[in-house]
């Protein structure tokens, strides 16, 4: 493994995440120390309700952190302005877009909003960036379709293309493979792997496809009740990080094949 001095895009130090209400603080997870490196595909896995979404929401500044520090490109996350943040980090969310009457091109072009003028006119540079993103994800044939004509898998590709057109160092995807069949799950994750390699962007996604993530990711973040560990998939298997993910009387992790089995 070549572990050169790669640039660190996102870093957390003693980060605590959770919810703050008037009286009480509900800590979902604490003491989180992560380093996301340039050009890597990073999978975030863990059981339902363990706090994957909370972590992603905190890293993307949708909700405030409880304590600790988050650095984006060595600069504290909270010092970013709206536009600066939009030019550094793009998102693919689980929620549906409001208007499906947009054409695929229009939707992807909205990814250029942080760069366009007050009325949102696309410059030649914007249009070429959009077209480049479209060719990188191989969706030329969808370009002129309306979003309501697309299947779930196609729409997910389009949303990834939109994030790509936003031209950010970091792309964060919240469960990009839900609602997709096996083929499209693999397709989307392989696409993300290819994009990380070709574009040098850092791609962080949460997923329940642990088997696939182990095979495709450069690095993984495994969230379990007691701790959060981050390393390459091989090292994580050696450390036995996956065996504590689920109750052992139901599911066991087979370290030889790197996959889960139902306990009979």
């Amino acid at each position: 493994m070549k572990e050169k001095n790669q640039h660190i895009i996102l870093q957390t130090k003693n980060l605590s995440i959770g919810y703050q209400s008037n009286k009480a603080e509900t800590i979902v997870a604490s003491n989180i120390n992560l380093e996301l490196k340039e050009g890597q595909l990073i999978g975030l896995v863990g059981a339902n309700g363990i706090g994957k979404s909370t972590l992603l929401r905190t890293l993307t500044q949708v909700q405030p952190k409880l304590s600790g520090a988050i650095y984006l490109n060595n600069k504290p996350l909270k010092t970013y302005s709206n536009i600066e943040l939009a030019q550094t980090m793009s998102l693919v969310l689980t929620e549906q877009i409001v208007s499906k009457n947009l054409s695929v091109f229009e939707l992807i072009a909205l990814g250029r909003q942080p760069y366009t003028n007050w009325v949102g006119n696309l410059s030649e540079n914007d249009i070429s960036t959009v077209n480049k993103a479209i060719s990188q994800t191989n969706i030329e044939s969808l370009k002129n379709k309306k979003c309501f004509e697309l299947s779930d898998g196609q729409l997910q590709k389009v949303m990834i293309t939109r994030a790509l057109a936003q031209d950010t160092d970091l792309i964060v995807l919240d469960e990009p493979t839900t609602h997709l069949d096996m083929y499209h799950k693999v397709y989307i994750l392989k696409l993300l792997q290819k994009l990380a390699k070709e574009t040098g962007k850092t791609i962080l996604f949460s997923s329940h496809e642990i088997d696939l993530a182990i095979q495709l990711c450069d690095s993984m973040i495994v969230m379990s009740k007691d701790n959060i560990v981050s390393d390459s998939p091989c090292h994580l298997i050696e450390k036995g990080a996956f065996s504590n993910l689920f109750p052992k009387d139901m599911i066991v992790f087979d370290e030889k094949i790197g996959s889960f089995r139902v306990k009979k």
Partner: protein, 338 residues
Amino acid sequence: MPNTNTYKVPFLVLLLLLILCFFANISLGSVSVPFKSIFESLIGTADNYIIQNYRLPKAFTAILVGSGLGISGLLMQTLFRNPLAGPFVLGISSGASLGVALIILGAGIFGGLFSTLLISKWSIVIAASLGSFLVLLAVLIVSSRVRDTMAILIIGLMFGSITAAIVSVLSYFSSAEQLQQYIFWGFGSLGNLSWNELGIFFIIYSFGIVMSIISIKGLNTLLLGENYAKSLGLNIKKSRLIIIIATSLLAGTITAFAGPIAFIGLAIPHITRQVFNTSNHKVLLPAVFLIGAIVMLVCDSIAQLPTSDYTLPINAITSLIGAPVVIWLLVRKRKMIF
């Protein structure tokens, strides 16, 4: 495609239609004026009292009302992510009605000095604007707490009920004369404005339009939903405030000067989306402007009942046209463009 050239032809057609409707509107009425004398009085070679002091301001009012209500409906539908939103449904008109009711009907209750002081045209305008702004603000505060858009609509309707209730309490204590004045205001009217009033109307309207134009980029971003809009660098709170102020300026002053005109705000954006088959506000905003103005001119021409001495309440005509459009939209909802 963001290629605005493809829309050149429909825009040109609409512009010609607008000019045609404008002249037809001036020409038609209890006294039919031939096109020739309209031109003559427009370029100043002949004086025509009816045209210069009645028909012309009325036609301009129709353009401002139709375009302004259409645009405020468009802004509300995008902001609230709801195809049924509009100034009327969200209680902005109700707020204006309440303001006016308090002035016209309340004057009788407070009596004496107040009544002469209060019932001027301007106090009605200010009360209507204030009323609509307050209701919209209340809807906004509620909408920041309630994420369910249906709940927001129901809350808008509730504001309408509260208004109606307060108005009926007020009317119980009012004189027949005041009641009549309020009811006539509720019919809506495009023909009561002098050139001076039209000037003030136009200035406030222009502020609303400018703020709508500023919001175009934000509105397009909001088509993805608020979380995506935020991730694209949009300052949601600021954009939301600008959109709401624009709407209350437009819907508020229109209701103030022309009364609560129904359905235009809801129906025009839908008609426009069907015609242009796009959600891009760079296209929709000018298109809604044109179609709104045209529909309002047509409604007004019908309301004049050409060659007769009667004038129907404009509100009845807009509803007669608007309600079937809403029904038609619901029936073919599967293909509804939003």
